[in-house]
């Protein structure tokens, strides 16, 4: 009896997923633990492993296809075994996921982030639709004579741009000839292979700028035009785009920047290191953020413009940059953790993010985010608030600078931080007090001595 492979349900908030890549083809032998396929949810890309040994008998969900979680995506069994086709496959039955990277923690998710997710998920299809309209190959009903059609095909131009002079605006050969003359097509020089490539790739020759001898259109020119065509962004990118646009459009951002003298902290960290206590600078910053948020709960709140929700937990989002975009894993209840625990959780989450193994639940529900670009030699930057949060802290590089200390110019290691706060709830003075609290903590070595 063939085994059913389901689209895994990855946490509470995910309703559908897209298969981006099949690692096995129909007929391949599959071992338990082999990666079967990769899925992209609206939060991340994950690898899904097989729970069974056998042969991949049938794939029901092709690459780039999106289906609800718990849908049947494939069958695994003995070679030659009969399997039902897609239509009769059981869909969305609450069975246990047979392919999943790790069991999702069935933890009740707070109401707020779920709401956030719902508002985020809706714009995605809209983005897709608008791109599809913009794509040049979108077929529309075109009245064109066979001779004109053949000529258009032979010349590799887009018939939609040609005005028809026949009945009901029908395009006839004469119109195409006039169009070619009027657009300067007849003066173009086109390398034969370039023309073939344009035809094969649905590129209008008139869109291509020639760079060969005397402006001749060469293969490389067509390749350039192909590269310039609008392409649907990955689902992850679309989500990033819509969240950022939503945040920047709806949340009035307010920015406060301060410079923090890290010199003493850096030397204290060295001291600790000599005693085999390894705490990263980031950990100190995160701990200081957690303490400051506890002092200023309004920065750890969220608002929809009508109600404000205070969060008793500091669920700290940490921005991690990946090749495909940004993910924000969340350290839950950060105020309950020791610095060592905070550091370990952060490391584990970042590692999971880099290897694409973050579960959606591990990326949702943050109340405040820290974005650290210290490793990129940036002097200062400001970040955009994650929707559903009250603020985000942008941490820049620590740079040696000439600073006035006690009336004398000294070389100190200075780090700029910029708080972006939701101005609807966070007043300017509150924001300023928050960064001042953060600064005084990071510059207070006695405080750290009392903590470690």
């Amino acid at each position: 009896m063939a085994q059913i492979v389901l689209m895994p349900k990855l946490g509470q908030t995910v309703e559908e997923s897209t298969i981006v890549k099949w690692h096995k083809a129909t007929g391949d032998t599959v071992k338990k633990g082999d990666v079967l396929f990769e899925i992209e949810t609206d939060k991340a890309v994950l690898e899904c492993e097989s729970f069974y040994d056998g042969t991949l008998l049938k794939i029901l969900v092709a690459e780039e296809e999106t289906v609800p979680v718990q849908s049947v995506v494939a069958y695994i069994g003995e070679p030659g075994e009969e399997v039902p086709d897609a239509a009769s496959a059981p869909v969305a039955k609450p069975v246990k996921a047979v392919a999943a990277p790790a069991p999702a923690k069935a933890e009740p998710v707070k109401a707020a982030p779920e709401k956030v997710f719902a508002t985020v998920a809706t714009p995605a299809p809209a983005v897709q639709a608008s791109v599809a309209v913009a794509a040049p190959s979108a077929p529309t009903k075109l009245f064109i004579s066979p001779r004109a059609k053949a000529l258009v095909k032979n010349k590799v131009v887009n018939a939609e741009n040609i005005a028809g002079s026949g009945p009901n605006g029908r395009i006839v050969e004469k119109d195409v000839l006039a169009y070619l003359e009027q657009t300067g097509y007849n003066n173009l020089r086109i390398a034969p292979a370039a023309k073939r490539l344009a035809a094969a790739s649905n590129i209008d020759i008139l869109e291509v700028k020639g760079t060969g001898d005397s402006g001749r259109i060469m293969v490389r020119d067509v390749e350039t035009t192909i590269a310039e065509q609008p392409k649907i962004m990955s689902k992850m990118r679309q989500i990033i785009a819509s969240r950022l646009a939503q945040s920047f459009g709806q949340i009035p951002h307010f920015y406060v920047t301060t410079s923090i003298d890290m010199t003493d902290l850096l030397s204290y960290r060295k001291e600790l290191k000599a005693k085999d206590v390894n705490l990263s600078v980031t950990t100190f910053i995160l701990e200081a953020v957690v303490m400051s948020l506890e002092e200023f709960p309004i920065v750890n709140s969220s608002t929809d413009g009508v109600a404000v929700t205070w969060h008793s937990d500091v669920d700290l989002g940490i921005a991690v940059s990946l090749e495909k975009g940004l993910v924000v894993p969340v350290v839950k209840g950060a105020q309950t953790l020791t610095m060592e625990e905070l550091q370990n959780q952060m490391k584990a989450l970042s590692e999971k993010a880099r290897t694409g193994r973050l579960m959606p639940d591990e990326m949702s529900g943050s109340t405040f985010t820290v974005s650290n670009m210290g490793m990129f030699d940036v002097e200062s930057f400001s970040a955009i608030i994650n929707p559903g949060e009250g603020g985000i802290l942008a941490v820049s590089s620590t740079l040696e600078q000439a600073v006035v200390v006690d009336g004398k110019i000294k070389i100190r290691s200075m780090m700029k931080v910029t708080l972006s706060a939701d101005h609807r709830t966070v007043d300017g003075t509150k924001g300023a007090e928050f960064v001042k609290a953060l600064k005084s903590k990071l510059e207070d070595i006695d405080l750290w001595k009392s903590l470690i």
């Binding site: 292979a193 073939r196 490539l197 094969a200 060469m218 293969v219």
Partner: protein, 462 residues
Amino acid sequence: MEKFDIVVIGAGPGGYPAAIHAAQLGKKVAIVEKEIFGGTCLNWGCIPTKALIASAEKFEEINNAAEYGIKVDKVSFNYSNVVSRKDAIVSKLNSGVGSLLKGNGVTSYAGTASLESRNVVKIAGKDNLKIEADKIILATGSESFIPGFIPKSPSIIESRAFLAMTKLPKSLIVLGGGVIGCELACMAAMFGVEVTVVEMLEDILIILDKDVRKAIRSNMEKMGITILTGEAMGDISATTKTVKGKVGDVEVKAEKMLVSIGRRPYTAGLELENAGVELDERGYVVVNDLCRTKAANIYCIGDANGGPQLAHAATAQALRVVDNLCNKERKAMEMLIPACIFTAPEVGVVGLTEQDAKEQGIDIKVGKYNFAGLGKALAAGATDGFVKWISDPKTDQLLGAVAVGAHATDLIAEAAVAIRNELTVDEIGNTVHAHPTFAESWMEAAHSVHNLCVHSVVRRRK
């Protein structure tokens, strides 16, 4: 100090065309040469080797005259006459270069150039002076050399000394089965020298596709050349009379050894550091895609910049660099450089090879046609060889070509035109090629890309 718009250093196939072209475009130009006009190509490379090979082929042809129904008795050669014929050709050509330079108004200086600064060139030798230059074009080329691990001996020579010999040895080891090594090995073998080629890599002429290499190697072996590949030569020792060494377990021994394992860029004594011109870790001048060095007004063309070490590549760069300078343009160098190898049989190759495509993961379709199917080849008694097209299956674009066999080095010109202008397989197939000629093979090979070649039996498609 006299001031020039452009000063060219080196009068080889890169330098002299650069100087003449710039002068023709109205610039005030000087050229500095430390030896003889024409550089390696004309004096110790392309031309003299081809002169010797022509004599060798003539000798071989006469020896095979009986095949054509011609009786020739007592054929012999005098190698010193062969060499003087070569020398006459070379001197005719290099005096020709001299008069071209003069006639086009280029000022020539004889001496070794060095850079005193970005704009001042110091000349030492027959002429001793300093000149000022707005732009400088380095065209100093490369030189053959014998690496340090090989003992110094009059019996061990590199290609330049080989060409100067007035007497052929009875036996010869050729160390390095690249282009120069294989060409001279074939030449010597045709004159009856017992030749052994030693190549460390898995095959001779490794840049070529396997089928091409096989055609050359089997013919060279038929000519009596021993070819040892896949192992380096060790235990090399030499006296004035013999050279010997070991290749794996095989002992090789000969009267002379030709070392042809590469060339090195010629930059010594140029004092490039005074102008801020940088070299890479192998000693080549670092240039960008417009052949400009790290010093903004100094360019480097030809062998010394680490590109393909071919005379025509240097000439093409010369003309483009000068055009860019004079017309204030930024046109890139021509990237499609054909290469010709004058072995027996000879080879012409241009563009993508099958092994390149495999390495780069490019999907290709190949069409091949053997000379054995050509009436002309049969008539001429030259049925060994073939031509091959490499094409893009998606668009039919011609991406590469190779010809091996009679006239291959001339045949490749058609392929270069087709590939540079991005023609398709069909267009070559539809171009009427005169009958009976060797060039027809391109048309037949184009037809066979689509399995539609009339003059070959096509396996039925399933």
